[in-house]
């Protein structure tokens, strides 16, 4: 079954960031028209473990589970509140602790919330480059919601367009990039290495 993972960095309860994330996942499910294995990762609950990971170098407990869910995801929906003209530190920290290549080829729908519409280009200037760097495939429509947008039918149109774009990308555009997605240790050693080959490659000046 398709694995869709929602990651959001909303801090309050209830959270408008969570609200936007829920709308985006509902629109994606509707566009897919089939059952999906849906996981929601609330970064607020992982804040301490994220700080620990920065210092110790390894994820523990629920954070380790969340990292593994994201690594295995077929598509991601990521939503952050805007803090100081960018994604929040909590949001960035989660993507900082992922192994390089974790998101290679993964379709990603990006969203952001803020108190004012003046922050709307954060999606294009901060989130899109971040996920481009991580070699994810970001859908064309990024969804921004200021407080007043929650009363505007245009938000719902953008949400549905973005959800449909993510659904359309699932399993289509990402295959070559996903081929070198970061592997778990088990996957790395599923076919054992060959040391003679490592020796040859070590001394190959083209390597």
């Amino acid at each position: 079954m398709t694995r869709l993972v929602v990651v959001h960095a909303g801090l309050s309860t209830p959270s408008s960031t969570r609200l936007l994330a829920d709308r985006l996942s509902a629109a994606t499910l509707e566009a897919l028209g089939q059952p999906v294995d849906l996981t929601v990762v609330e970064l607020r609950d992982l804040a301490h473990e994220l700080a620990d990971n920065l210092l110790t170098g390894f994820p523990t407990g629920a954070l380790a589970d969340a990292v593994e869910q994201v690594r295995r995801a077929d598509a991601l929906i990521v939503v952050t509140p805007v803090f100081s003209a960018s994604y929040s530190g909590l949001f960035k920290t989660f993507f900082d602790v992922l192994e390089p290549g974790t998101l290679a080829g993964t379709p990603v729908l990006v969203g952001a919330t803020a108190g004012t519409a003046r922050h709307s280009l954060v999606l294009e200037h901060a989130l899109r480059p971040l996920f481009a760097y991580l070699r994810a495939v970001v859908v064309p429509t990024a969804v921004f919601a200021a407080a007043e947008d929650f009363a505007d039918p245009d938000l719902e149109r953008r949400v549905h367009r973005a959800g449909a774009e993510l659904a359309a990308l699932l399993g289509v555009a990402s295959a070559p990039a996903a081929a070198d997605r970061a592997q778990s240790f088990e996957e790395q050693v599923a076919a054992p290495l060959d040391f003679e080959d490592l020796l040859r490659r070590a001394s190959d000046p083209r390597g």
Partner: protein, 379 residues
Amino acid sequence: MQLGIFTVGDVTTDPTTGRTPTEHERIKATVAIAKKAEEIGLDVFATGEHHNPPFIASAPTTTLAYIGAQTERIILSTATTLITTTDPVLIAENYAKLQHLTDGRVDLMMGRGNTGPVYPWFGKDIRQGLNLAVENYALLHRLWREDVVDWEGRFRTPLQGFTSTPRPLDGVAPFVWHGSIRSPEIAEQAAYYGDGFFHNHIFWPASHTQRMVAYYRQRFEHYGHGTADQAIVGLGGQFFMRRDSQDAVNEFRPYFDNAPVYGHGPALEDFTEATPLTVGSPQQVLERTLSFRDYVGHYQRQLFLIDHAGLPLKTVLEQLDLLGEILPDLRAGFAEGRPAHVPDAPTHASLVAAAGGAHDSTVHAVDDVTGRRAEEVSA
């Protein structure tokens, strides 16, 4: 089963007093700790290698030779030797010399280091770290086993007719361990050569150590060095003990909370649960240590980190006294249920025996038989 300690040689402020030892004090303390390790009956003392403050762990063979001169029994080792940025010719020379001076009480653990700038400081490219480890060790392995080496590789200047001196003591190379926390390539390297594999163990969850060791064991068997359970495995460990476990927690907490690696991060309780760190009574340290076998199998070497994070020398020596008290029980526990076919870690004596006895391997510049000099022979 070999039991010992390893140090990274950090010069760290004692958070309870605000005092930072001088380099001189820390270097002398390292020697005192090593001598104490022999006194309480440990088998191994290993030092790390760093080339930057706040460490005093550069020039490891100088330290080990000085300790070797003041001890009689303990094996002197490294944790780790930087195979990436150190010329393998110098490693071959330095450790063969140490082998002679200490009558064979030497082995080494290869590692890639954890300080990025060491690569450029020594003229290397960090992106080639793994390749450097593979090629450099391939050369080191030959330098200790072949009297005359012709070599051309990618990372150092070629060698023609080169003899690394002194030749290894009794014609037997020092035993080598390969240390890596997370690179299966290094476990593969250890397995290929039939060398030991050491997992640092202390900063990562047990489940990860278990996977790395299992991979090494499987590949050791694949390369025909024995069965998987005969592979040579070493683990790191970390403890702080007092007779009363609550005293241990109270005394160690400020050192943990301010430790250079994980300080100001996870709570002591969470970290002791996630990693092998044990803070408590001698009985708790004993039981926790013996439980490592549950996930790596019967193994050959257990090293503890006990002198880091600003712990004063007096405290470290007290830790060793307590370790000495549980040492007989640790040895008895590790011997329990250990199948006869599981080997001990190789030592100089066992390697000499396996080679059919000691033979002097001196390479003379003048041919003993014909009396001709090397230049005349090659002319």
